[in-house]
Each structure stands twice: as C-alpha cells, then as structure tokens.
Symmetry: D2
C-alpha cells in the first residue's frame, strides 16, 4: 500500500540519508519507509568491534537511532530525540547482517514514542531500542 503519505515519507528519508554521513559510514541501506515506520539494514565490518572482540554497543545503538530518526521525522515534522534506551540481548559479530525495524507506539502533537527491534541474519533479536522524541514546528524538506 503505497499511499501518498508513504511516498512523502520516503522522500523525507531520502533527503535525510543523503546528508547523513554517519549512517553512510555505517553502510545503512533503507529497505522500506512508511508513514511513522522504517526498516533498514547494514552489514557489520571489522572496524566496528570493541575491546572484547564483539561489536561495539554504539554501532547497534547508532543503527537503531537512524531507524528511529527515519520513522519519527518522516511526516516532515522535524523531531529531536529526547530519551532513548537500548537493551543488548545477543552479541553481534563481524559479517553479521542486521535489520532494524521502527514501529510507532505513539504519535502525539508534541512528542512521539517508537520501538526499534534489531534482528540478525538468523532472525534472532539482538537488541531492542526505545525512543522518545519531541516535535518542533520545523519541516525537513
């Protein structure tokens, strides 16, 4: 169902992704955008590991945070992250292929709440992320 709103949402995210140098460094690819929803993927590289030989928690967080931004901003209402949290359920390794899916739990006028789930290529959930955003009066495009 590619409604007009979903097309607009896709355009907003294309604009964001074009300027988002850090998501580009991470190798994030957008899979699907709908109003208040996003689904993205990335492949883990060696330069993303931490001092314990597994993936740095910040890499998984960054992926989830990008999915969050692509979901909460895509009505073309500039929204800023206030409070976010992430739980790490399974270690992530080099060459793992991750998918992050952002779902909207609340779309208020002033604030929003989103849950992002990150799964690996074995369909195991490796992390769950929660994001609260504050909505400004500005547009993105």
């Amino acid at each position: 169902m590619n409604s007009e709103n979903d097309l607009k949402a896709t355009k907003v995210v294309e604009h964001m992704m074009e300027h988002d140098l850090f998501s580009q460094w991470l190798g994030i690819k957008v899979m699907e955008i709908k109003e208040g929803f996003s689904k993205i993927t990335m492949t883990i590289r060696k330069e993303m590991i931490n001092g314990l030989g597994i993936i740095h928690g910040g890499v998984a967080f960054s992926m989830a945070d990008s999915a969050f931004a692509f979901a909460c901003n895509n009505r073309n209402v500039l929204s800023v992250a206030l409070d976010t949290s992430i739980n790490f359920l399974k270690p992530v390794h080099v060459d793992d292929i991750l998918i992050a899916e952002a779902k909207e739990l609340h779309n208020g006028r002033s604030t929003g709440l989103y849950h992002i789930t990150i799964t690996n290529q074995h369909n195991h959930v490796v992390a769950v992320f929660k994001g609260t955003c504050y909505r400004t009066n500005k547009t993105l495009i």
Copy 2:
C-alpha cells in the same frame, strides 16, 4: 592517588583500547582511569553528522558506551552491558571537543550501575548516559 588498583585498572583499559577498533575510529583518547572510573575525550569530525546537520546521536552514545565499558570492566572482571539509556540535552557540532566521565553508582557482585556525563568545550553538558552491566566470571587480561 595512583593506588595499585588504579594501575591495574589502567592496564585493563590499555588492553581494551588496543583492540577497540571502533573507539579508535571515533578518535577516543583516554584521559584518566581509576578503579570503577574513566574519563575520555574525542573531537567531532564531519563524517559523524546525521541528516539534520548535527552530530548523530549514535556518536555521543558510542562515546558514553566506551567510557562505561572502560569503567565497569577495569577491575579485570568481564562485564557486559544489559540496559543503557541516554538523554540528549544540547546539539553537538563538527569540531566540538567532548569529554565523557563515567562514575560508579553501584558495584555489585553480579551487576553494576554507572552514570556517564558528556560535556563539550564550553563545559556544557550535552548528554547524560546510564548503564547497567552484568558481571561474568571471566577476566580480560
């Protein structure tokens, strides 16, 4: 006060940092390590921005998560992050110089709790991070 425990803590973190390719990419420099404590710094580069022209939230999180890891592992007890959260208080820009300081609120046998504060070169707090870890039976070095 450079006690024996603080020297050991420093050695653990040196070992971690040597293998932590993502913290190296971020440009993290260790400023001070004590038992259950860490202080690190990094300078923001252009490739760290998001689609809104400010620093990607994942970069600030990653810095705090490194400070957390350096504090909660430095008694040479391998500890894994369970639940972490971050609040973003001020935007961070290219060329900003950040300092993250990790303090131990609780050092339990099985779990630990840490608060990390990130400040910029104007001594403004830009983010506050909270991390809960689970302690394993393993050592790092």
Copy 3:
C-alpha cells in the same frame, strides 16, 4: 493451552499474590498466567490521584511492575528487577479499568527482558513499561 508449565506458573503467581499486600491494596486481579507471561487488571480509585487530578504515575508503574514480577518469576526462579522504565502516553482517570499484559522478550539464564503494555477500557494504550531482571539461584515455592 494449559501445559504443565503454565499450571506451575499459575501456582507461583498465586503464592506471590497471596503475600503481595501492595498489589492487594491496588486491587489487582490476575486474569491469565502462562510461562513467562501475565495479564492482570485493576480499577482506578480516588485515593490513587496525584496533585494534578489525574492518576499518579506511580500507580500505573506499580501495576506494570506487578505484571513484570508475575511474568519473570513464574518459572519458580526468583528474579529481581534491575532496571525498569515507563512511558506515559495518555492520562488515566478515576474509575478507569486498566489491563496490563507482560510479554517476555528475552529469557536468559542470568537475566530477562519484558515489555508490559497497559491499556484502558477504551482499548487505548496508556503506558508502556520495560523491565530487565536478574535471575538468582533461589526458588519461590
């Protein structure tokens, strides 16, 4: 599907509820218990309001925390709450009838992660809760 495990889970929660004087004061009724799952209900009373005339956030948290405890302990493995968070989405009023449902996202040997959703009689989500627990070696019954 009332498996043996679900019957055991129900017995553990009956034992907990019998001794849980605060859940009794709240008026919590258990609706359904399965392994790693719980569903409970309560009706909001006047003595539960805060200084703004709506329900005190602590009341919704307490309900979710009970649902969390009933889900994460019901394999008869004593589990203690480490880190919990709650987002408030809609105000709750006197005479509202709430239902809290706890779902298990992760059942690890040492830790567990649960999401609890609270809905009102109009089937609106009023709060979402996240709980991380640490598992001890003790039993409850």
Copy 4:
C-alpha cells in the same frame, strides 16, 4: 537562601501535595523545596510489601515520581512526565525511612530532565530515578 522563587516553588508544591491523595496515602512529607529541587521523606509500612517480603518496586518508584513532580512543576509551569526509569540497588524493608532528593539536570523551555536519588536511614542509596518531562503552557496555581 529563601529567594522569592523558592517561596513560590514551596507554594506550588503545597498546593500539589494538598490534592495528591496517593502521596498522602504513601505518607510523604515535604522536607525542602527550592526552584527545580525537592526533598521528601516517607516511612515504609507493612501494606507496601510485595510477594517476596520486601518493598514493592512501585512504592519506591512512586516516591521518586512525587519528588520528580514537585521539582519539575514548581516554577508553576505544568509539566507532564514522558519517560521515567528507575534502578533498584538495595532492597527496602518495613520501617525503613526513605529520603528522595530531586535535582535538575536540564531546564529547557519545552522539556526538562531530573535525577532523583532515594537513600535509607543508613544513608545507603536504594534506588536512582531519571525523569524526562514535557512542559505545557499551563500554570498550576
């Protein structure tokens, strides 16, 4: 230092406490109010225990949430809790005397961030709470 702002803050909290039936049931007493700050106390009673014989997590949360409300509303700007979290560090028992102190980390025009620390009569920290609020255009008194 009892500035005019602190006197106004005290009046706002007196008004809140007068209508806050749940904080009254908990037995909360206000110890000190300053602009953006609150300190309260309560004594744990038998009807506050959970099914494990210690204090229900919801009781500690409720106390912290009251301290949060008294701090974040006391400039007479009605503020609503968005996202709150609590970490439980030590069990609380019947007859324990708790003190909760709320400190303001951020006082923004649209949002605020507060840390609340709960200590017992032995000066041990039993729980730490974090609260993000959204500021409305309304006043309380």
